[in-house]
Every structure is written in structure tokens, then in C-alpha cells.
């Protein structure tokens, strides 16, 4: 029994049992470790990836749910940090320990896909599932606004 899906633009086929959380397939079987494990219960958002563009918690999503779909992880933004969100994260020096930031970025990227000019309330809504124990929230909010502004110009 294998499962096939598109990961960051590339077709992959994995052997994991269908009920294996997508998180562990991405991390352990495929070996892409940018996506992090935080709680295993969809409470913290560290494992956020996009499934067909929507932010999901990969720790609670069985790999079978990804079959035939498009999965995007933090590695999909860019390798050279050229994505507007990555640039904004660097400009505001958002990360501290950095562990939650892959999930933060993927939630933010999903927000900006549908909302090019998010208000504070929009941002807080979209980001409320992502915990940052270092408390970088104010910088995340500012960086999302900077990235949105850049994307509106583009």
C-alpha cells in the first residue's frame, strides 16, 4: 500500500501506512525536516503545512488525506529566502529559537493567498492556531504586514 501526492511541486510515493500522520511521512520517510513536531494534537501549529493551499496541522492529518493532492511545506517558499514572507521575517528578525517559525510562515502564506491586505484582526484570526513560546507575535504581525505590502506592489 503506497500513497502518492505532490510535495512542493514534486510527485512523491510513500510506503507509510495510510493512517500515519502526514508530519512523520514528510519528516522521517521523505526526510524534509523543516516541518516541526510540537504537540501531536493540532494545538500548537508547529507542524502546519498547506494541503491544496489551505493550512492544515500535519500531525493530525493522515497521509491518506493527502493522496492525489498538493502538499506544501516551508521548504516550498524558497531555498534562497526570496519569498516576501521570508524576506519580511529576516527584515524584522522575527525568529528567536525559531522552532515554531516554519508553521507560522505556512499559516501566514495561506492567509496572504486569500487576503492581500490583512487587518490586525485578520492576522490574529489566521495565526491563532500557531503558538510561539518565545513570544515573537508582535514581530510576526509586523512581518506579515510588510510581506503583504510587498506582494501588493508586485
Amino acid at each position: 500500500m503506497t500513497t502518492s501526492f505532490n510535495l512542493n511541486g514534486k510527485q512523491v510515493t510513500v510506503k507509510a501506512e495510510p493512517d500515519t500522520p502526514l508530519l512523520w511521512v514528510i519528516r522521517d520517510e521523505i526526510g524534509l525536516t523543516g516541518t516541526k513536531f510540537g504537540c501531536g494534537m493540532a494545538l500548537c501549529g508547529a507542524c502546519t503545512v498547506q494541503l491544496d493551499g489551505a493550512p492544515i496541522r500535519s500531525c493530525q492529518t493522515p497521509v491518506s488525506a493527502a493522496a492525489g493532492k498538493k502538499v506544501a511545506t516551508v521548504e516550498s517558499l524558497s531555498k534562497d529566502n526570496s519569498h516576501p514572507l521570508q524576506k519580511a521575517w529576516i527584515a524584522h528578525d522575527v525568529p528567536q529559537c525559531g522552532y515554531c517559525q516554519s508553521g507560522q510562515l505556512m499559516s501566514a502564506a495561506a492567509l496572504l493567498r486569500t487576503n492581500k491586505n490583512p487587518s490586525d484582526a485578520d492576522i490574529e484570526n489566521a495565526m491563532s492556531g500557531n503558538i510561539c513560546r518565545c513570544g515573537t507575535y508582535n514581530r510576526i504581525r509586523a512581518a506579515i504586514k510588510s510581506a503583504a505590502a510587498e506582494m501588493r506592489k508586485a
Binding site: L32, G34, M41, L43, C97, I131, G135, Y137
Partner: protein
């Protein structure tokens, strides 16, 4: 007689291993050896002949920015562009000892304070060696040479890169006396500098402990006794062994480990294990019995400080008052659950992961395996949060034991539930405060008595009855009160406890800064003016307090339903004031804004300082508003973020930071703001409701029952 931190850690920390330079880290953490022939003029600088310069950070990067600030100090004197250097986290070595703490560890907001001179000297030594090498090569006097941007420049426009000079320089003796720059000439130190670890942290390439991969590595999930300290009496692994991917099931000291070809397989099979336990003595304790034990503790008090005669002054005071304050057990809840990767082979062991205490990790892994410390190699990855949890090494020892048992490299990963229920908790604390006021309301006497558990007795073998300096922090207020007594009752509640960001500052500042507020209220005075009137002899305290009040518009009208609270503290040689603006609805607090003013002397990276203040406030707010650990039959009742809630973006206040320009020696900044936000909010709660809540967290339940 007070034991200094330096002294007791020196004698009790497990120390081992010689200097092993050139050990590099996997993945994104730089690999100095890849850069051609490598020269190492001293323990802090590698220069490759292709001019790649690698600076060593001997402190663990857990968010606080040392991956940037430590190299900045070296680079300042070495005269290299901080944007062009590589950074490597140090291996275990005596030279990397934190002299403020007596071991190779990261904690106590010491990194900049400890490295401030030492790392600049290290940079200046190498610069001097490079200049001397150029002087020899060109047969000119060293004083005719200067350095700029990684080059030595001589008369007539002669130039040599550090890489070209590294071979010769590394053969020269390390100079003992070097001349350091005047602070006015600093080009790097004190300038806001972009963090060097941000780029790998925004594209998924930063390597944390959980990301380590060794060839042939397998994965482990460990079943530990639900009661901390309990021991395995038997287990049935038949079902677990039949599950997909399972390689082995092994018993180690702390429990039963399932080893499999993936974490998920290991975790699933662990659920099929049956283990029986001897739960041990902790099974007999719960929250109520711990509180009762603390309240009735008969342990002899240890004096902290005595000023004047508080007892006599209390008798003649016009008004006396007393109050008790409680602080709960807390978990660290690092975002990255505890983990470590170990590879035991032929009497030697490699352990790789997120460590705050490299020597402790090395020594204790060695002891557990029955090998010598020098046969244990410790490599430190990025840490997905530390906050004191990773000063412990239980998870590293477990990984090493499992690797030895299965004869393979093993990555041990705890679940969030493992992490929440098997922490080393911040100890529960009771403060008994008494105060005496004269007829004008001025305080004439203050007594402070803390009853809590010593972390240092467990962690570093501090003898009972010796004052634990990590319990008395911020216990002595800066206010001019002529008669004061501070004392400590060290009472062991039976549960294992650990250092938690800001350690006893948070406990003591909550009691002290709540109680001074109560005294102001009893005197009928404004809490800001009351504090200020007691600070005539304390200019640094008074200054931060005044700035905070001014910035926050103290005394000016607020939006309807909003209130302010103020708090003041010195901790880690940093003077700090905070003002909190809050509102309360249905006993639930919303924190709108925090003004924080810090005088921490000289700074290395002011932007990191601001980030640490924001971070510390968020961290302190989680425990102020709701997160709390409770115990029932020795079992921790919380398990994950649903019942141990840490603040989310919608709860994050706006933060207004003011950094005082100062030429004082550097103070620590990773922790003090965590301690001060609690009392600032508690005082604002009193201003809003007239209710004095003396129990953390300031949760709806505790507010309601106050």
C-alpha cells in the same frame, strides 16, 4: 556567609573532557572543516587558508541570540565583518566554561556578562597574532601595521588577508596582554545587528535536535512511569514487538523504550506496551499536601539579609500589615519536545542534541554508560527553546542508554504529553510578608520569608542549610526601608524541581512588588509616587521607574474599564520597571499594553535586547494568566497545550520598550522581564477591581475566590 554561584558550581558540577577543537555540527550549523586547511590561533577562532573565518560560540542558541552576540564580541576586536563569518557551537572543553556559573552551560542570563571581556580579549589575541605574523613576514615593526575588514595592512599599501597569515600566526604564542578598543571605537558591539541564525530559521534548514540524522539511525519512544521517579517492575512487550517497524523493546533506568524504524512506529507500538510500576514516594503527594507541607514547614530558616531591627520597628509602627502570596508549579513547555540522539559504539558515545549544559550532559551520559567523560562527545544543535529545561540531561542519558541496549544510533523523542508530565517543575512557593508603616504611611519595617524548594540542592548537590542563591534573587528590594529582614525556608516537597526562566526572581518580585503596592494602598498613596519616594539613594532604580511612568502616561486618563499597574526590580544586574495596562471582564484579564524600561548597562545587540524583552514578557504572561501545573496522586494533571495554555497572538499585548543609554557593565536580559510582568499585571488588577489577588495565576478562578 553566602556561597557564590561560581564557587558552588565549580565544586559540584560534573566536569570532564579535554578541549576537542574542530568538532563541527551537522547541517546548517557551519562546518569549519569544509573550508580548506584550517588554522586555530586560539579556542575561539578558526581561520582557513581560503580566508573563511569561523567564530566559536560557547553558549547554546535557544532563542536569546548568542549565536550572533557572542561572535560580535570576538569580531569587534578581530576586525572582521560579522556578516561574513561562520559560527560554530563549541564542543565540550574547559576553555568554554562559563566562569560566572563554573561549568559549560548557558543560563542565568550570563552569556553577555561573562563573555563581555573574555571574548573581546580572544578576538584581540588573534588579531595581535595575525599582525605579528605580518610583521615577521614583511620584516617591519608591528606598530606600523593596522587591520581592517579581515586584512592586515602595512606600509606602502602592503596587504595580507587573515587567511594568508593564518598558518604563521597560529604558530606564534598566544599573547597574554592585549589592548582592547575603547567602547567609543566599537563598530559592531552596541549596534543593532541582524541575527545570523534567522536565514536558516525561515527556510527549514536550521538543525534542531529533532532533526538530527545519523547513518543507520533508529527511533525510540520511551514509556516512563506516570509518577515521576517510579521504577519498572515488569513489562509485556509481546504485542508491541508484533507491530509494524518495531526493532526492539528495551528496559532502561527510567522506563521501557520501543525502538522502531520511524518515530510513528515506535510511538504506536509503545501504546501496545503493558508496564507495571513501583510508583515510589511521589505517588503520595498532591497539590493540597504540598501546600500544607509548605505552610507547616519546620525547616530552619536561612537568613538572606538583615537591615536594622525589623521586629522592634514593627512593634512601634503606627500600622502593621501582613500578606501571603502563592506561586504554583510550572512546566517549561519548550516548543521542541525533549529529545536527543545517541550513538554508542565500542565504549565511546556520541550524543547530539539540544543541550544547555554540555558538561553535565557529558558527565552524566558517561556515568550512566560506565565510560569515561572523555569518551563521550557532545554536539549541540539549535535548541527549540530552553528556559532552563535543557539544563537537565535526563533525555540525553536515556538516548545513550537505549543506543547501548540496541547497539544502534538512536533518536529518542518525547511526546508533548511526556514533556508536560516529566518536567523538572518550577517549585511551588509561599511568601509571608509583614510591613510596618509610620503615621505618615512611610514604611519603617519589612519582613520577607520565602518557603520553597531548592533546585540547586538537587541539581548541583548544594548542602542543605546553605543559602541557595537561586532562591534569594530579587528578594532584597531597593527601597529605602530602614528595618528589613529577608529569610528563606528551604523545604523539599518531594517533586523534582528545576530552574525556570528568571528562577526565583519571578517568585520574589511577585511578593515584593505586590506587597509594596499594598503598603502604598494602606498609606493612601499613589503606587508610583510611593515607590519613587523610597528611591532617593537608588538612582538607577528611580530612573527606570520614572521613565516607565512617563512613557505610560501614569496618572493620565485611561479608556473606560482600563487600569494600570507598576512594578520595579533589579535582576541579573539589570534595573527594570514595567507598567501594565489591562482591563477585566468576567474575572478575565486582557493585557493591552506593557511599557518596559531596562537599564542593563552596555549592550551587544540592542535589537536582540528588545526581542528578549518582548519574549520574556510573553513568557511571564503565560504563567501570570493561566498556565499552572497541578499534581494528583503524584501525577501531573496537565498534558498538552489545551490544559497548559500558553499565550497566543490574540493575547499578546503591545510592548513599548525603552533602553536606557548606559556605560555601566552589561546586565543580563534574557529573564528579568519574565519576573516583573506578573506583579505589574497583579497591581493593575488591584487598581481595576480593588481586589488583591495573592495567588498566581491570576486566572478567573483565583480572581473570583480572592
Amino acid at each position: 556567609m553566602t556561597t557564590t554561584r561560581r564557587d558552588f558550581l565549580k565544586v559540584t558540577a560534573v566536569v570532564g573532557g579535554g578541549l576537542t577543537l574542530g568538532v563541527s555540527l551537522p547541517g546548517a550549523v557551519s562546518d569549519a572543516q569544509a573550508a580548506g586547511t584550517l588554522y586555530t590561533p586560539n579556542a575561539w577562532v578558526h581561520i582557513a587558508d581560503d580566508n573563511t573565518i569561523t567564530l566559536i560560540s560557547a553558549r547554546s542558541e535557544m532563542g536569546q541570540g548568542v549565536y550572533t552576540s557572542m561572535p560580535m564580541l570576538i569580531a569587534e576586536e578581530l576586525n572582521v565583518d560579522i556578516r561574513k563569518v561562520k559560527v560554530e557551537i563549541a564542543p565540550v572543553g574547559e576553555v568554554y566554561t562559563n566562569t560566572l556559573l563554573g561549568g559549560q552551560l548557558t543560563g542565568g542570563s550570563t552569556s553577555v556578562r561573562e563573555g563581555w571581556e573574555k571574548l573581546r580579549v580572544a578576538g584581540a589575541q588573534v588579531r595581535t597574532m595575525l599582525v605579528n605574523a605580518a610583521a615577521d613576514k614583511w620584516q617591519v615593526s608591528a606598530d606600523k601595521l593596522r587591520v581592517a575588514d579581515g586584512k592586515v595592512i602595512g606600509p606602502g599599501g602592503r596587504k595580507a588577508t587573515y587567511g594568508e597569515l593564518a598558518d604563521a600566526a597560529s604558530k606564534l604564542p598566544v599573547p597574554k596582554d592585549v589592548v582592547l578598543k575603547e567602547p567609543k571605537d566599537f563598530k559592531i558591539v552596541g549596534k543593532a545587528t541582524k541575527r545570523l541564525d534567522t536565514p536558516p530559521k525561515v527556510n527549514g534548514t536550521a538543525v534542531y535536535g529533532i532533526d538530527v540524522k545519523l547513518p543507520g539511525m533508529v527511533y525510540a519512544s520511551l514509556e516512563q512511569c506516570p509518577v515521576i521517579g517510579g521504577k519498572v517492575t515488569g513489562f509485556d512487550a509481546a504485542k508491541a514487538k508484533a507491530m509494524p517497524g518495531v526493532i526492539d523493546v528495551v528496559q532502561i533506568r527510567d522506563g521501557v523504550a520501543v525502538v522502531a524504524d520511524s518515530y510513528w512506529h515506535a510511538k504506536k507500538a509503545r501504546e501496545a506496551l503493558t508496564v507495571t510500576w513501583d510508583e515510589g514516594p511521589v505517588a503520595k503527594i498532591d497539590n493540597a499536601s504540598m501546600m500544607e507541607g509548605i505552610r507547616n514547614a519546620k525547616d530552619a530558616p536561612t537568613p538572606i539579609k538583615k537591615t536594622g531591627d525589623a521586629d522592634a520597628a514593627m512593634k512601634t509602627a503606627a500600622k502593621t500589615m501582613q500578606a501571603e502570596y502563592w506561586s504554583p508549579l510550572l512546566a517549561h513547555a519548550t516548543m521542541e519536545p525533549q529529545n536527543f540522539t545517541a550513538d554508542y559504539k565500542n565504549g565511546k558515545c556520541l550524543v547530539v542534541g539540544p543541550a544547555q549544559f554540555q558538561q553535565g550532559t557529558q558527565g552524566n551520559v558517561a556515568a550512566a554508560l560506565g565510560i569515561k567523560p572523555e569518551d563521550v562527545t557532545v554536539k549541540t544543535t539549535f535548541l527549540g527553546g530552553g528556559f532552563g529545561r535543557r539544563l537537565e540531561y535526563d533525555f540525553a542519558v536515556q538516548a545513550a542508554e537505549i543506543s547501548k541496549a540496541v547497539g544502534k544510533p538512536v533518536k529518542l523523542l518525547w511526546s508533548r504529553e511526556d514533556d508536560t508530565t516529566h518536567d523538572f517543575y518550577r517549585p511551588m512557593a509561599l511568601h509571608r510578608m509583614t510591613g510596618g508603616l509610620d503615621a505618615s504611611g512611610k514604611p519603617v519595617a519589612l519582613t520577607f520569608q520565602l518557603t520553597s524548594q531548592s533546585v540547586t540542592q538537587r541539581a548541583f548537590g548544594l548542602p542543605k542549610g546553605t543559602l541557595d542563591p537561586f532562591m534569594s534573587e530579587a528578594s532584597v528590594v531597593g527601597y529605602d526601608i530602614p528595618n528589613m529582614t529577608q529569610e528563606l525556608i528551604e523545604h523539599d516537597s518531594g517533586l523534582r524541581v528545576g530552574y525556570w526562566r528568571s528562577v526565583s526572581h519571578a517568585l520574589n518580585a511577585f511578593a515584593n512588588e505586590s506587597f509594596i503596592d499594598e503598603m502604598a494602598a494602606a498609606a493612601g498613596k499613589d503606587p508610583y509616587q510611593y515607590r519613587l519616594s523610597l528611591l532617593d539613594k537608588q538612582p538607577r532604580y528611580a530612573n527606570v521607574l520614572k521613565i516607565a511612568a512617563t512613557r505610560a502616561g501614569w496618572g493620565k486618563p485611561l479608556p473606560a474599564g482600563h487600569s494600570r499597574g507598576i512594578a520595579l526590580m533589579e535582576g541579573y544586574d539589570t534595573y527594570m520597571a514595567q507598567v501594565a495596562e489591562i482591563s477585566v471582564k468576567d474575572n478575565e484579564i486582557t493585557v493591552h499594553k506593557i511599557w518596559v524600561v531596562a537599564d542593563l548597562g552596555r549592550m551587544v545587540n540592542p535589537d536582540t535586547v528588545e526581542a528578549q524583552l518582548e519574549s520574556s514578557i510573553a513568557f511571564g504572561l503565560s504563567s501570570t494568566l493561566g498556565a499552572e501545573i497541578t499534581l494528583d496522586k503524584g501525577r501531573v494533571q496537565q498534558s498538552n497545550f489545551h490544559d497548559y495554555p500558553v499565550i497566543r497572538m490574540s493575547q499578546m499585548p503591545r510592548i513599548d520598550v525603552t533602553l536606557v543609554k548606559s556605560t555601566e557593565k552589561p546586565g543580563g536580559i534574557g529573564e528579568p522581564a519574565t519576573a516583573l510582568v506578573g506583579p505589574a499585571v497583579a497591581n493593575a488588577l488591584f487598581a481595576a477591581t480593588g481586589k488583591r489577588v495573592r495567588k498566581i495565576p491570576l486566572s478567573p478562578d483565583n480572581i473570583k475566590s480572592a
